[in-house]
């Protein structure tokens, strides 16, 4: 990763969160990884001035309370937060979800794999991409 700022993972599934955490570790990320279990929790994290602004957000779509799309709608209206790249990590192959996500300016859309090793590959690709892509301040 170009930046050393934290990565924020927003997902309600504990095993999925564990998967991300383990994959990040397996990929030798140096960034700290923080977790939120839904959109509301994520905003609580993001709006807390004590927390550093994350360099990337990995976002699940199907979550209780505030789902991924709702989270994106609010995020992209926020002057301070709207430039943080958001990558969708979901099981949904729905065209509608893809369309909505890209309309809200996501940086990528990844399908959660059944296979852990496949998922590690996905995470590696993300890492290598963002290690050459410049990020805004």
């Amino acid at each position: 990763m170009k930046s050393n700022k934290p990565i924020l993972v927003i997902d309600d599934d504990v095993i999925d969160s564990m998967t991300v955490k383990r994959a990040i570790k397996d990929c030798n990320y140096t960034n700290r990884v923080d977790f939120a279990r839904n959109g509301e929790e994520a905003f609580a994290y993001l709006n807390n001035e004590e927390n550093e602004k994350p360099c990337i957000i990995l976002l699940d779509l199907n979550m209780p309370k505030m789902n991924g799309i709702e989270f994106l709608e609010i995020l992209k209206k926020n002057e301070r937060l709207k430039r943080i790249p958001v990558i969708i990590l979901t099981t949904s192959r729905s065209d509608q979800d893809r369309l909505k996500a890209y309309n809200l300016g996501v940086a990528g859309y990844m399908i959660k794999s059944m296979d852990y090793s496949e998922f590690v590959e996905v995470m590696k690709t993300i890492k290598s991409y963002w290690s050459i892509s410049e990020l805004p301040e």
Binding site: D13, I15, D16, M18, T19, R22, N62, T90, T91, S92, R93, S94, D95, K112, S113, M114, D115, Y116, S117
Partner: protein, 638 residues
């Protein structure tokens, strides 16, 4: 006026004697004393008789008569010679042979003279009368000729045929128009009998009866009435005529004059009108919809029986009523119908509209009012034609359909949500199980023996299978539910792409027909069809050298595609089974398969209105065929 008698004698006493002898006659005497004087008097007077003395000096009696005979006026003047001597020679004198001549010898016997003069006077009287009669006759003849000329002019210039018959029904006169009407040349009809030109038929007996009565001078209907009859032309063709007949007396003989008019055109026009009337009447009566005809004042003129069938009111009970006073119209409907009626009568266009009706039994019905103003020959609005189809059932059907569609939409939405939940909520725990199993296998590999490791691997593979089944169900349920636009697809490009994505092993050759068609369909669907069929052929290939052929046949109404392989083949008893959901022919442990691919393919083909079937021989290979109608595709395009 008295008849005049010329007396000629050179002796006055003789003249006096003659006058005396004849004084009893009511006549006037004119004297002449010589032949010359006699000639002079003749020019001045008209004489009935002349009495001339034979022996006169200068010009004797004979010479005088000779000269008189040369004058036109006296050429035939009866003359009595008075002579002293009788001679046979008297008869030989010139001019005596013309005109009456007599002789009387002297001495004159008064009775003889008196008698002869009287006879001559009688002849004169007769002559005068005859002349009078001739004059009168000439006058009458002139008058007759004039009247005949008048009649002829009228008769020849008349458009109507004029025919005259005698009491034996012989035609004795016929004008040009009549000759034309019956197709005869000049003067060809005259002499023929009436039955040659009038056909016995429907009205014939009445006509013959009336004619008989007319002859008997009984009161007759045809004398002044016009009757229609069938007539015959010279060429035997029949045609309708109109005849008025009256009797006339000519030379005390009974005659009848008939005025004839050819009414072929009128009858034809009438027949045409009747036919057209009958046609429209039958349309009116047989129409499946109620029809109401109103005049321009809104009074109902006619209705057909459908109105009765529909609303229970008979035509009779409605005809003559005003549009706004109809028993089957509730107040609100009456108002609307009369409002729109006035608009139409004012020449404004009124679109069809729905209206409530109440049947005689009190049931509410809905009718669609379709009306159009009727125009007369001059283009003026003369009434209104109102067509009222009963749309009660249709409306109910529409409402029901609308409700069902709404229900269906709700169900569909629920299903979509269900699919979403399934896709996420069922797959998430599966993924968890599979991931955790993998980690256990990885992190605690030294703690498991071979059997334990195999069991964990089986657990992972079952989790994967379930994941695939869920994906299959989702895919199947998406077909037909997810809308996609049609586009032109060139199969020469699409199929190689599909094959490429399948990455077939090197031992399998895939051959495509050249010039595959371009079709207009939903791309994802047609892609799924080819993908499933080709991937199946690859997946189940059991020969060291696999051959898969993809081709088609243009069958005019439809395309017929096929995917042929030289794989294991399918037993005939399984032909139907392969299309059923979750059906696999091999154990899933041997060949990982959901059993949803062909089911999905069949569903798509059915959506295209096509068909799918297969031919196969065990051990030799299978060919899947499917047809896609071309027409269906075009229809949807519109």
């Amino acid at each position: 006026m008295k008849p005049k008698i010329l007396i000629v004698d050179d002796k006055v006493q003789n003249l006096v004697a003659l006058e005396t002898l004849l004084c009893d006659l009511d006549v006037e005497f004119v004297r002449a004393l010589s032949g010359n004087e006699a000639l002079q008097k003749v020019l001045e007077h008209d004489f009935a008789i002349a009495l001339i003395d034979v022996q006169m000096p200068e010009m004797d009696g004979f010479e005088t008569v000779e000269l008189l005979r040369k004058i036109k006026k006296t050429k035939y003047l009866p003359v009595i010679f008075v002579s002293a001597i009788y001679s046979e020679n008297y008869y030989r004198i010139k001019g005596v042979e013309s005109g009456a001549v007599d002789f009387i010898t002297k001495p004159i016997i008064p009775e003889i003279l008196f008698g002869k003069v009287k006879i001559f006077l009688g002849i004169y009287e007769q002559k005068l009368q005859l002349e009078e009669e001739i004059k009168r006759r000439i006058k009458i003849e002139n008058e007759l000729a004039e009247s005949e000329e008048k009649f002829r002019t009228i008769s020849t210039s008349a458009n109507d045929g004029i025919i005259m018959i005698d009491s034996n029904d012989n035609i004795i006169y016929c004008n040009i128009a009549a000759e034309k009407i019956f197709g005869y040349k000049e003067n060809e009809i005259v002499g023929k009998t009436l039955d040659r030109i009038i056909r016995s038929g429907k009205h014939h007996d009445t006509f013959i009866n009336a004619l008989r009565k007319l002859k008997k001078k009984e009161k007759s209907t045809i004398a002044d009435k016009i009757i229609e009859l069938t007539a015959i032309k010279k060429n035997e063709n029949e045609f309708p005529i109109e005849l008025s007949l009256s009797s006339v007396k000519i030379n005390k003989e009974w005659n009848a004059v008939g005025i004839i008019r050819d009414i072929t055109e009128r009858v034809q026009a009438n027949t045409k009108l009747q036919k057209s009337e009958a046609k429209y009447r039958s349309i009116f009566e047989l129409s499946p919809e109620a029809i109401v005809l109103a005049d321009q004042f809104g009074t109902i003129i006619d209705t057909n029986d459908r109105l009765f069938d529909w609303l229970g009111y008979e035509s009779k009970s409605v005809i003559g009523k005003k549009l706004f006073k109809l028993p089957f119209l509730p107040k609100e409907s009456s108002k609307r119908i009369i409002e729109n009626f006035h608009k139409r009568m004012a020449g404004k266009e009124v679109l069809s509209y729905e209206l409530d009706f109440i049947t005689k039994k009190g049931e509410k019905r809905i009718g669609l009012v379709l009306a159009s103003p009727l125009k007369n020959g001059k283009g003026r609005i003369s009434g209104d034609l109102i067509l009222i189809p009963d749309i009660t059932e249709r409306k109910a059907d529409e409402e029901l359909k609308g409700m069902l569609i709404k229900q269906l939409e709700t169900v569909n939405l629920e299903l979509k949500e269900f699919a979403y939940v399934v896709s996420h909520d069922l797959k998430a725990p599966l993924r968890g199980i599979s991931t955790l199993a993998e980690w256990i296998l990885e992190d605690y590999t030294d703690k498991f023996d071979t059997e334990g490791k195999e069991q964990l691997r089986l657990m992972i593979s079952r989790a994967h299978r379930m994941h695939n089944l869920i994906d299959g169900i989702l895919q199947y349920s998406r077909v037909g539910r997810v809308k996609e636009d049609k586009e032109r697809i060139d199969l020469n490009i699409l199929i190689p792409e599909i094959i490429d994505s399948l990455n077939p092993p090197e031992n399998i050759e895939i051959v495509l027909d050249k010039n595959l068609p371009e079709i207009n369909l939903e791309k994802t669907r047609i892609q799924q069809v080819f993908l499933n069929l080709i991937s199946n052929a690859i997946k189940y290939m059991d020969k060291p050298k696999g051959l898969i052929k993809v081709g088609y046949e243009d069958k005019k109404e439809k395309w017929e595609f096929f995917i042929q392989d030289n794989g294991p083949g399918i037993e005939k008893k399984h032909f139907e089974k392969v299309f059923k959901i979750f059906q696999t022919l091999q154990s899933r442990d041997k060949m990982e398969s959901t059993g949803i691919g062909l089911t999905t393919v069949k569903k798509i083909i059915k959506l295209f209105n096509g068909d799918i079937w297969l031919e196969s021989e065990l051990g030799k290979g299978t060919t899947f065929f499917f047809s896609i109608p071309k027409k269906h595709i075009e229809e949807i395009e519109i």
